[in-house]
Protein backbone atom coordinates (compact mmCIF):
# COMPACT_ATOMS: atom_id res chain seq x y z
CA UNK A 1 0.00 0.00 0.00
CA UNK A 2 1.50 3.16 0.66
CA UNK A 3 4.53 2.93 2.66
CA UNK A 4 6.33 4.78 0.11
CA UNK A 5 4.25 7.71 0.61
CA UNK A 6 6.54 8.34 3.42
CA UNK A 7 9.21 8.74 1.06
CA UNK A 8 7.15 11.04 -0.92
CA UNK A 9 6.83 13.42 1.81
CA UNK A 10 10.14 13.72 3.14
CA UNK A 11 13.57 14.33 2.67
CA UNK A 12 15.86 13.97 -0.13
CA UNK A 13 18.15 16.17 -1.89
CA UNK A 14 19.68 13.69 -4.09
CA UNK A 15 17.58 10.86 -4.99
CA UNK A 16 14.36 9.67 -4.20
CA UNK A 17 12.09 6.89 -3.71
CA UNK A 18 8.61 6.56 -4.50
CA UNK A 19 5.74 4.65 -3.54
CA UNK A 20 3.13 3.58 -5.72
CA UNK A 21 0.41 1.81 -5.48
CA UNK A 22 -2.78 1.30 -5.39
CA UNK A 23 -5.22 -1.04 -6.15
CA UNK A 24 -6.34 -2.58 -3.02
CA UNK A 25 -4.52 -5.78 -2.65
CA UNK A 26 -1.75 -4.54 -4.76
CA UNK A 27 -0.72 -1.40 -3.19
CA UNK A 28 2.74 -0.64 -2.96
CA UNK A 29 5.56 0.04 -1.01
CA UNK A 30 7.96 1.08 -3.31
CA UNK A 31 8.24 4.21 -4.18
CA UNK A 32 7.21 7.47 -4.72
CA UNK A 33 8.78 10.58 -3.84
CA UNK A 34 12.13 10.73 -2.35
CA UNK A 35 13.08 12.23 0.78
CA UNK A 36 15.21 10.98 3.50
CA UNK A 37 17.86 9.66 1.23
CA UNK A 38 18.37 13.00 -0.40
CA UNK A 39 20.09 14.36 2.67
CA UNK A 40 23.55 13.42 1.58
CA UNK A 41 24.96 16.92 1.51
CA UNK A 42 27.35 17.43 4.40
CA UNK A 43 28.64 20.55 6.06
CA UNK A 44 28.26 23.93 4.39
CA UNK A 45 30.83 26.63 5.08
CA UNK A 46 29.73 29.28 7.55
CA UNK A 47 27.70 31.98 5.84
CA UNK A 48 27.41 30.08 2.59
CA UNK A 49 24.15 29.03 0.97
CA UNK A 50 24.01 26.00 -1.29
CA UNK A 51 20.91 25.52 -3.39
CA UNK A 52 20.01 22.19 -4.95
CA UNK A 53 17.50 21.37 -7.67
CA UNK A 54 16.68 17.72 -8.21
CA UNK A 55 14.46 15.81 -10.58
CA UNK A 56 13.72 12.20 -9.73
CA UNK A 57 11.84 9.71 -11.88
CA UNK A 58 10.77 6.43 -10.32
CA UNK A 59 9.39 3.76 -12.63
CA UNK A 60 7.47 0.96 -10.99
CA UNK A 61 6.19 -1.84 -13.14
CA UNK A 62 7.24 -5.01 -11.38
CA UNK A 63 5.10 -6.98 -9.00
CA UNK A 64 6.58 -8.84 -6.05
CA UNK A 65 5.30 -11.21 -3.41
CA UNK A 66 7.94 -11.43 -0.75
CA UNK A 67 11.13 -11.91 -2.71
CA UNK A 68 9.44 -13.46 -5.73
CA UNK A 69 8.56 -11.53 -8.85
CA UNK A 70 5.08 -12.28 -10.16
CA UNK A 71 4.10 -12.32 -13.78
CA UNK A 72 0.46 -11.35 -13.39
CA UNK A 73 0.96 -7.66 -12.79
CA UNK A 74 -2.15 -5.60 -13.24
CA UNK A 75 -0.80 -2.09 -12.88
CA UNK A 76 2.22 0.09 -13.36
CA UNK A 77 3.14 3.38 -11.84
CA UNK A 78 5.60 6.20 -12.02
CA UNK A 79 6.42 9.15 -9.81
CA UNK A 80 8.29 12.30 -10.77
CA UNK A 81 9.49 14.40 -7.90
CA UNK A 82 11.02 17.84 -8.11
CA UNK A 83 13.01 18.94 -5.12
CA UNK A 84 14.34 22.33 -4.15
CA UNK A 85 16.82 22.25 -1.35
CA UNK A 86 18.57 25.01 0.55
CA UNK A 87 21.51 24.40 2.85
CA UNK A 88 22.90 27.25 4.92
CA UNK A 89 26.02 27.26 7.06
CA UNK A 90 24.82 28.92 10.26
CA UNK A 91 28.15 28.40 12.03
CA UNK A 92 31.28 26.46 11.22
CA UNK A 93 29.59 23.39 12.69
CA UNK A 94 25.85 23.87 12.20
CA UNK A 95 24.14 23.56 8.83
CA UNK A 96 20.44 24.22 8.37
CA UNK A 97 18.61 22.62 5.47
CA UNK A 98 15.16 22.81 3.98
CA UNK A 99 13.89 20.56 1.21
CA UNK A 100 10.64 21.21 -0.59
CA UNK A 101 9.00 18.95 -3.12
CA UNK A 102 6.48 18.80 -5.92
CA UNK A 103 5.15 15.38 -6.80
CA UNK A 104 3.49 14.04 -9.95
CA UNK A 105 2.17 10.48 -9.95
CA UNK A 106 0.76 8.28 -12.62
CA UNK A 107 -0.90 4.91 -12.26
CA UNK A 108 -2.22 2.62 -14.95
CA UNK A 109 -4.49 -0.22 -13.88
CA UNK A 110 -6.22 -3.05 -15.67
CA UNK A 111 -3.18 -4.20 -17.57
CA UNK A 112 -4.47 -7.75 -17.35
CA UNK A 113 -7.16 -6.75 -19.84
CA UNK A 114 -5.44 -5.29 -22.89
CA UNK A 115 -7.36 -2.35 -24.30
CA UNK A 116 -9.22 -1.82 -21.08
CA UNK A 117 -6.60 -0.20 -18.93
CA UNK A 118 -7.23 3.01 -16.99
CA UNK A 119 -4.82 5.76 -16.16
CA UNK A 120 -4.91 8.09 -13.21
CA UNK A 121 -2.64 11.06 -12.63
CA UNK A 122 -2.23 13.25 -9.60
CA UNK A 123 0.18 16.05 -8.79
CA UNK A 124 0.76 18.76 -6.26
CA UNK A 125 3.04 20.24 -3.66
CA UNK A 126 4.59 17.49 -1.64
CA UNK A 127 5.82 17.45 1.92
CA UNK A 128 8.91 19.29 3.12
CA UNK A 129 11.88 18.37 5.23
CA UNK A 130 13.46 20.79 7.69
CA UNK A 131 16.68 19.75 9.34
CA UNK A 132 19.61 20.93 11.42
CA UNK A 133 22.95 19.15 11.06
CA UNK A 134 25.88 19.35 13.43
CA UNK A 135 29.50 18.59 12.57
CA UNK A 136 30.77 16.46 15.42
CA UNK A 137 34.08 15.89 13.67
CA UNK A 138 35.16 18.39 11.04
CA UNK A 139 37.36 17.28 8.18
CA UNK A 140 40.65 19.14 7.84
CA UNK A 141 43.85 18.64 5.89
CA UNK A 142 45.14 16.59 8.80
CA UNK A 143 41.94 14.72 9.57
CA UNK A 144 40.54 13.01 6.46
CA UNK A 145 37.20 12.11 7.99
CA UNK A 146 34.07 13.79 9.23
CA UNK A 147 31.04 12.92 11.28
CA UNK A 148 27.78 14.80 11.17
CA UNK A 149 24.53 14.15 12.97
CA UNK A 150 21.21 15.80 12.41
CA UNK A 151 17.57 15.86 13.21
CA UNK A 152 14.44 17.46 11.94
CA UNK A 153 10.87 17.11 10.88
CA UNK A 154 8.98 16.23 7.80
CA UNK A 155 6.27 18.83 7.51
CA UNK A 156 2.99 17.87 5.83
CA UNK A 157 2.78 20.62 3.24
CA UNK A 158 1.26 18.34 0.63
CA UNK A 159 -2.35 17.40 0.49
CA UNK A 160 -3.44 13.87 1.35
CA UNK A 161 -7.10 14.24 0.50
CA UNK A 162 -7.24 14.18 -3.29
CA UNK A 163 -10.26 12.48 -4.84
CA UNK A 164 -11.08 11.23 -8.29
CA UNK A 165 -14.64 11.26 -9.55
CA UNK A 166 -15.76 11.67 -5.99
CA UNK A 167 -13.78 8.72 -4.72
CA UNK A 168 -11.01 9.06 -2.20
CA UNK A 169 -7.65 8.16 -3.64
CA UNK A 170 -5.38 5.78 -1.87
CA UNK A 171 -2.66 7.20 0.31
CA UNK A 172 0.06 6.34 -2.16
CA UNK A 173 -1.48 8.47 -4.89
CA UNK A 174 -1.55 11.56 -2.68
CA UNK A 175 1.22 14.16 -3.05
CA UNK A 176 1.55 14.49 0.72
CA UNK A 177 1.24 12.27 3.75
CA UNK A 178 -0.57 14.64 6.09
CA UNK A 179 1.61 13.69 9.03
CA UNK A 180 4.41 15.32 10.98
CA UNK A 181 7.28 12.87 11.13
CA UNK A 182 10.53 13.01 13.08
CA UNK A 183 13.84 12.47 11.32
CA UNK A 184 17.21 11.32 12.65
CA UNK A 185 20.24 11.50 10.35
CA UNK A 186 23.97 10.90 10.36
CA UNK A 187 26.83 11.04 7.86
CA UNK A 188 30.34 9.68 8.17
CA UNK A 189 32.97 9.94 5.49
CA UNK A 190 36.59 8.93 5.23
CA UNK A 191 38.97 9.94 2.46
CA UNK A 192 41.96 7.88 1.43
CA UNK A 193 44.07 10.83 0.41
CA UNK A 194 46.67 8.90 -1.52
CA UNK A 195 43.93 7.60 -3.79
CA UNK A 196 41.69 10.65 -3.57
CA UNK A 197 38.92 8.19 -2.80
CA UNK A 198 36.14 8.95 -0.34
CA UNK A 199 33.97 6.35 1.35
CA UNK A 200 30.87 7.46 3.14
CA UNK A 201 27.73 6.28 4.80
CA UNK A 202 24.52 8.20 5.28
CA UNK A 203 21.88 6.77 7.58
CA UNK A 204 18.49 8.11 8.44
CA UNK A 205 15.46 7.08 10.41
CA UNK A 206 11.94 8.35 10.12
CA UNK A 207 9.50 8.06 12.99
CA UNK A 208 6.06 8.62 11.60
CA UNK A 209 2.82 9.82 13.08
CA UNK A 210 -0.75 9.30 12.00
CA UNK A 211 -2.82 11.76 10.03
CA UNK A 212 -6.51 12.00 9.42
CA UNK A 213 -7.51 11.95 5.82
CA UNK A 214 -11.06 12.37 4.72
CA UNK A 215 -12.60 12.38 8.18
CA UNK A 216 -11.60 11.93 11.79
CA UNK A 217 -12.34 8.24 11.57
CA UNK A 218 -9.83 7.74 8.79
CA UNK A 219 -6.45 7.78 10.55
CA UNK A 220 -3.61 6.65 8.34
CA UNK A 221 0.00 6.15 9.41
CA UNK A 222 2.88 5.17 7.21
CA UNK A 223 5.34 2.74 8.68
CA UNK A 224 8.56 3.91 10.28
CA UNK A 225 11.49 3.55 7.94
CA UNK A 226 15.25 3.31 8.02
CA UNK A 227 17.56 4.18 5.13
CA UNK A 228 21.22 3.37 4.92
CA UNK A 229 23.54 4.35 2.10
CA UNK A 230 27.13 3.21 1.77
CA UNK A 231 29.10 4.61 -1.12
CA UNK A 232 32.33 5.79 -2.59
CA UNK A 233 33.21 8.72 -4.79
CA UNK A 234 36.34 9.72 -6.64
CA UNK A 235 37.20 12.70 -8.81
CA UNK A 236 38.44 12.17 -12.33
CA UNK A 237 39.71 14.38 -15.14
CA UNK A 238 39.69 17.57 -13.09
CA UNK A 239 36.00 18.36 -13.25
CA UNK A 240 34.36 14.94 -13.25
CA UNK A 241 33.67 12.58 -10.42
CA UNK A 242 32.05 9.20 -10.28
CA UNK A 243 30.31 7.37 -7.49
CA UNK A 244 28.87 4.00 -6.60
CA UNK A 245 26.46 3.51 -3.76
CA UNK A 246 24.40 0.79 -2.17
CA UNK A 247 21.15 1.79 -0.57
CA UNK A 248 19.24 -0.30 1.93
CA UNK A 249 15.76 0.67 3.01
CA UNK A 250 13.39 -1.03 5.37
CA UNK A 251 9.90 0.12 6.29
CA UNK A 252 7.27 -1.13 8.67
CA UNK A 253 3.77 -1.78 7.49
CA UNK A 254 1.37 1.12 7.33
CA UNK A 255 -1.59 1.22 9.66
CA UNK A 256 -5.10 2.54 9.22
CA UNK A 257 -7.11 3.17 12.34
CA UNK A 258 -4.47 1.17 14.18
CA UNK A 259 -4.95 -1.88 11.98
CA UNK A 260 -1.97 -3.03 9.95
CA UNK A 261 -2.44 -2.57 6.24
CA UNK A 262 -1.68 -5.63 4.15
CA UNK A 263 0.90 -5.39 1.41
CA UNK A 264 2.79 -2.48 2.87
CA UNK A 265 6.32 -2.41 4.21
CA UNK A 266 9.33 -4.51 3.45
CA UNK A 267 13.00 -4.13 2.66
CA UNK A 268 14.88 -3.13 -0.46
CA UNK A 269 18.48 -3.05 -1.57
CA UNK A 270 19.48 -0.95 -4.58
CA UNK A 271 22.72 -0.12 -6.33
CA UNK A 272 23.27 3.46 -7.52
CA UNK A 273 26.00 4.33 -10.01
CA UNK A 274 26.41 8.00 -10.79
CA UNK A 275 28.69 10.78 -11.92
CA UNK A 276 29.17 14.45 -11.23
CA UNK A 277 30.53 17.39 -13.18
CA UNK A 278 31.67 20.80 -11.97
CA UNK A 279 30.34 23.31 -14.46
CA UNK A 280 31.96 26.25 -12.67
CA UNK A 281 33.43 26.99 -9.25
CA UNK A 282 29.91 27.48 -7.95
CA UNK A 283 27.81 25.22 -10.12
CA UNK A 284 27.86 21.45 -10.26
CA UNK A 285 25.60 18.68 -11.43
CA UNK A 286 25.06 15.05 -10.56
CA UNK A 287 23.29 12.27 -12.40
CA UNK A 288 22.57 8.82 -11.07
CA UNK A 289 20.58 5.72 -11.82
CA UNK A 290 19.17 3.34 -9.26
CA UNK A 291 18.71 -0.34 -9.91
CA UNK A 292 17.02 -2.78 -7.50
CA UNK A 293 19.15 -5.72 -6.40
CA UNK A 294 16.89 -7.26 -3.80
CA UNK A 295 13.47 -6.75 -2.33
CA UNK A 296 11.46 -8.58 0.26
CA UNK A 297 8.05 -7.00 0.46
CA UNK A 298 5.23 -7.70 2.83
CA UNK A 299 2.36 -9.28 0.92
CA UNK A 300 2.19 -8.35 -2.73
CA UNK A 301 3.41 -4.99 -3.94
CA UNK A 302 4.49 -3.18 -7.09
CA UNK A 303 8.20 -2.55 -6.96
CA UNK A 304 10.64 -0.13 -8.53
CA UNK A 305 12.17 -1.09 -11.86
CA UNK A 306 14.58 1.83 -12.00
CA UNK A 307 15.05 5.37 -10.74
CA UNK A 308 16.77 8.19 -12.60
CA UNK A 309 17.91 11.26 -10.71
CA UNK A 310 19.53 14.49 -11.85
CA UNK A 311 20.63 17.33 -9.58
CA UNK A 312 22.16 20.76 -9.98
CA UNK A 313 23.81 22.52 -7.04
CA UNK A 314 24.64 26.18 -6.80
CA UNK A 315 26.91 27.65 -4.15
CA UNK A 316 26.30 31.31 -3.34
CA UNK A 317 29.85 31.86 -2.15
CA UNK A 318 32.65 31.58 -4.61
CA UNK A 319 35.48 29.40 -3.31
CA UNK A 320 38.33 31.61 -2.12
CA UNK A 321 40.83 30.64 -4.77
CA UNK A 322 42.01 34.18 -5.46
CA UNK A 323 44.85 36.04 -3.81
CA UNK A 324 44.06 36.68 -0.15
CA UNK A 325 45.92 39.05 2.12
CA UNK A 326 47.27 37.55 5.31
CA UNK A 327 47.16 33.92 6.29
CA UNK A 328 44.74 31.40 4.79
CA UNK A 329 42.59 30.94 7.88
CA UNK A 330 42.53 34.56 8.95
CA UNK A 331 41.21 36.49 6.01
Amino acid sequence: MSIYKHTLSVIFVFWIFVSSGVIKAQTCSCAGAPLINSQSLGAVEKGNLVLGFTGDYNHIDRLYSGTDELNNRTSERSTFTSLIEANYGLTSRITLSGTFSHVSKSRTTGLQNPGDSQELETSGIGDALLMAKYSVIQQTLWKPYQLMVGGGVKAPLGTNTLTSNGFALNADMQPGTGSWDGIGWMLFSYTIRSQNLTFYTVNSFKKTSSASRFNENDQYQFGDEFNSVFGMTKPAFDKFSYSLKMKYRTANSDTRNDSEMPSTGGEWLNVIPGFGYSLTDRLSMQVSGEIPLYQNVNGTQPSTTYILTGSVFFSLNKPSTGFNFGLPGRN
Binding site: L141, R193, P328, G329
Partner: protein, 137 residues
Protein backbone atom coordinates in the same frame (compact mmCIF):
# COMPACT_ATOMS: atom_id res chain seq x y z
CA UNK B 1 58.42 13.87 2.22
CA UNK B 2 61.54 13.53 0.13
CA UNK B 3 62.31 16.82 -1.56
CA UNK B 4 65.14 15.68 -3.73
CA UNK B 5 63.58 16.81 -7.00
CA UNK B 6 64.10 20.56 -7.49
CA UNK B 7 62.20 21.05 -10.77
CA UNK B 8 64.84 23.60 -11.75
CA UNK B 9 63.97 25.81 -8.79
CA UNK B 10 66.35 26.71 -6.00
CA UNK B 11 64.58 25.55 -2.86
CA UNK B 12 65.77 26.74 0.54
CA UNK B 13 64.81 25.92 4.07
CA UNK B 14 62.56 28.51 5.70
CA UNK B 15 65.38 29.64 7.94
CA UNK B 16 67.74 30.01 4.97
CA UNK B 17 65.14 31.91 2.99
CA UNK B 18 64.41 34.39 5.76
CA UNK B 19 68.06 34.95 6.44
CA UNK B 20 68.79 35.42 2.75
CA UNK B 21 65.92 37.90 2.43
CA UNK B 22 67.47 40.05 5.14
CA UNK B 23 70.79 40.21 3.31
CA UNK B 24 69.51 40.40 -0.23
CA UNK B 25 65.87 41.49 -0.10
CA UNK B 26 63.48 39.34 -2.09
CA UNK B 27 60.11 37.97 -1.19
CA UNK B 28 59.75 34.46 0.25
CA UNK B 29 57.40 32.02 -1.44
CA UNK B 30 56.17 29.07 0.62
CA UNK B 31 54.84 26.11 -1.38
CA UNK B 32 52.61 24.26 1.08
CA UNK B 33 52.24 20.70 -0.14
CA UNK B 34 51.41 17.18 1.00
CA UNK B 35 52.49 13.74 -0.10
CA UNK B 36 48.95 12.74 -1.07
CA UNK B 37 48.17 16.02 -2.83
CA UNK B 38 47.53 15.22 -6.48
CA UNK B 39 47.23 18.88 -7.47
CA UNK B 40 50.61 19.59 -5.87
CA UNK B 41 52.09 16.82 -7.98
CA UNK B 42 50.37 18.19 -11.02
CA UNK B 43 51.95 21.61 -10.49
CA UNK B 44 55.35 20.03 -9.99
CA UNK B 45 54.93 17.99 -13.13
CA UNK B 46 53.28 20.51 -15.43
CA UNK B 47 54.10 24.01 -14.14
CA UNK B 48 57.40 24.07 -12.28
CA UNK B 49 59.43 22.58 -15.18
CA UNK B 50 58.60 25.62 -17.32
CA UNK B 51 61.82 27.56 -17.81
CA UNK B 52 60.17 30.98 -17.54
CA UNK B 53 58.54 29.97 -14.29
CA UNK B 54 61.85 28.75 -12.99
CA UNK B 55 63.58 31.98 -13.97
CA UNK B 56 60.85 34.10 -12.47
CA UNK B 57 61.00 32.27 -9.15
CA UNK B 58 64.78 32.05 -8.92
CA UNK B 59 65.25 35.73 -9.77
CA UNK B 60 62.53 37.20 -7.60
CA UNK B 61 61.81 34.87 -4.72
CA UNK B 62 63.35 32.67 -2.11
CA UNK B 63 61.38 29.48 -2.57
CA UNK B 64 60.56 27.10 0.27
CA UNK B 65 58.72 23.79 0.17
CA UNK B 66 56.82 22.84 3.29
CA UNK B 67 55.31 19.40 3.75
CA UNK B 68 52.27 20.15 5.87
CA UNK B 69 52.38 16.74 7.53
CA UNK B 70 56.06 16.69 8.37
CA UNK B 71 57.26 16.61 11.97
CA UNK B 72 60.56 18.13 10.92
CA UNK B 73 61.55 21.13 13.06
CA UNK B 74 61.46 24.62 11.65
CA UNK B 75 62.08 28.10 13.07
CA UNK B 76 59.59 30.86 12.28
CA UNK B 77 59.24 34.17 14.09
CA UNK B 78 61.87 33.04 16.59
CA UNK B 79 59.76 30.06 17.61
CA UNK B 80 60.39 26.38 17.01
CA UNK B 81 57.65 24.52 15.23
CA UNK B 82 57.17 21.32 13.32
CA UNK B 83 56.16 21.94 9.74
CA UNK B 84 52.80 20.39 10.57
CA UNK B 85 52.28 22.71 13.55
CA UNK B 86 53.18 25.76 11.50
CA UNK B 87 50.83 24.71 8.71
CA UNK B 88 48.00 24.32 11.19
CA UNK B 89 48.82 27.66 12.78
CA UNK B 90 48.70 29.24 9.35
CA UNK B 91 45.11 28.03 9.10
CA UNK B 92 45.77 26.09 5.95
CA UNK B 93 42.65 24.54 4.46
CA UNK B 94 43.75 23.49 0.98
CA UNK B 95 46.77 22.16 -0.85
CA UNK B 96 48.62 23.38 -2.67
CA UNK B 97 48.68 26.83 -1.12
CA UNK B 98 51.27 29.48 -1.91
CA UNK B 99 52.10 31.86 0.94
CA UNK B 100 54.17 34.96 0.35
CA UNK B 101 56.29 36.74 2.96
CA UNK B 102 57.99 40.08 2.53
CA UNK B 103 61.74 40.35 2.95
CA UNK B 104 61.23 41.49 6.56
CA UNK B 105 59.30 38.27 7.26
CA UNK B 106 55.93 40.05 7.38
CA UNK B 107 53.00 38.26 5.84
CA UNK B 108 51.82 39.44 2.41
CA UNK B 109 49.14 36.96 1.44
CA UNK B 110 48.27 33.57 0.05
CA UNK B 111 46.60 31.80 -2.80
CA UNK B 112 45.15 28.30 -2.44
CA UNK B 113 44.59 25.80 -5.22
CA UNK B 114 46.10 24.56 -8.45
CA UNK B 115 47.21 27.06 -11.08
CA UNK B 116 48.22 26.42 -14.64
CA UNK B 117 51.40 27.95 -16.05
CA UNK B 118 49.78 31.21 -17.13
CA UNK B 119 47.90 31.85 -13.92
CA UNK B 120 50.92 30.97 -11.81
CA UNK B 121 53.12 33.34 -13.81
CA UNK B 122 50.52 36.08 -13.33
CA UNK B 123 50.54 35.45 -9.59
CA UNK B 124 54.31 35.57 -9.36
CA UNK B 125 54.40 38.81 -11.35
CA UNK B 126 51.60 40.24 -9.19
CA UNK B 127 53.55 39.58 -6.01
CA UNK B 128 57.05 40.32 -7.30
CA UNK B 129 55.97 43.73 -8.65
CA UNK B 130 53.91 44.46 -5.55
CA UNK B 131 50.83 45.02 -7.67
CA UNK B 132 48.75 43.89 -4.70
CA UNK B 133 49.25 47.35 -3.18
CA UNK B 134 47.00 48.94 -5.77
CA UNK B 135 45.02 46.17 -7.42
CA UNK B 136 43.42 42.78 -6.94
CA UNK B 137 44.60 39.55 -8.44
Amino acid sequence: MAQTESYGITWLSLEEAIESAKNDPKKVMLFMEAEWCTLCKKMKKEVFPDSEIQTMINNNFYAVRIDIESNESIIYEDKKWTKKELSKDFGLYATPTFIFLDSDESMIGNKPGYMDREEFMDLLTFVANEEYIESEF
